[in-house]
Symmetry: C2
Subunit: 164 residues, 2 copies
DNA sequence: CCGGAATAGTTAGAGATGCAATCATTTCGT
DNA sequence: ACGAAATGATTGCATCTCTAACTATTCCGG
């Protein structure tokens, strides 16, 4: 254990950022769920559809990594979407263990309509908050923090997972 | 309905901020859970302890509002903490419906130790990412966004809930 | 003061998610 | 080429959270 005697000043600033990020996430999440409910989608399902729209025929494992969700969670989400006719599984021709997931025309249609509403609402909420040039600075800072956290995950994070 | 013909440029910037915030939240959340697991705490339990440390004898409903969690969720979290001897319920002398929740000495002790590790890790992760003056700017931007989202919730958010 | 409305808290049921175990297939070392 | 290890996906189980219904108490209008 490293005993920290960080100044309480830095400490307080970090706490503040931490709490703000959490609060913002909760607020955004809440808004998202309200919008997507109109289209019968959960947020997780919506994110899968978004990824599939970006790149068709992704594997479940790939989706799992990109969404930072357990593979089993992705299996179930794809089950739901498939049951609703929004996506389809197809066997991978090169690896018979793998499944490729693709958007159906119905899935593409639902995504297009949901995304229109979701993004419009999102844009409205952000542009009310920050000017255009502020958004740029904000993105830069968010990116720095994000990349740094990913680094920490790879260097410090992993060893902590499995203690024994 | 306001029909938006926002430029796709703004749109892209908003999407970027949105995705970054989500990704950062997931990364922070993941790190939090790893740290707190060492102390047998879930993130939700930890947050309750933090609130109780700030102000002893809070009602369950107050905790529910501050954590943005359903009342039933708070009931169960307090159940768990009480079962573990970290908090205690005591009747409100003025309102016999209400329960006041207080930290026990054991709870205060666990919180103190968990918080030391958690905050130390948090400070390390943030200070690796952003310089001190950058953190100030970051806090300013986060605050603006947060407050604006809270406003949106009160003005735009509520009516959208029940579209019928 | 009485009775309906509101409020504090709990309980029940359903959905979402993670972990661990499992099966089928692929990859790799020898 | 064979067997062990790794990988893709699924399933079972446990946990967390929400919504809705319910009980007990308080508030408030007449």
């Amino acid at each position: 254990m490293i005993q920290a005697d960080f100044s309480s000043q830095i400490d307080a600033a970090v706490q503040q950022q931490y709490h703000l990020i959490h609060a913002i996430y909760v607020l955004l999440d809440d808004g998202d769920r309200r919008v997507l409910r109109q289209f019968g989608l959960t947020l997780a399902q919506y994110r899968v559809l978004l990824l599939l729209d970006l790149e068709h025929g992704q594997r479940l494992t790939t989706l799992s990594e990109r969404l930072l969700r357990a593979k089993s969670t992705i299996t179930r989400i794809v089950d739901q979407l498939e049951h609703g006719g929004l996506v389809a599984r197809s066997s991978d021709t090169e690896d018979r263990r793998a499944q490729r997931v693709v958007l159906t025309p119905a899935g593409a249609d639902v995504l297009r309509r949901a995304r229109a509403v979701h993004e419009e609402k999102l844009v409205r909420r952000f542009t009310l908050a920050l000017q255009e040039n502020e958004q740029e600075r904000f993105i830069a800072l968010l990116t720095r923090l994000h990349d740094s956290l990913v680094d920490s995950l790879n260097t410090l994070g992993a060893p902590v997972t499995g203690p024994e």
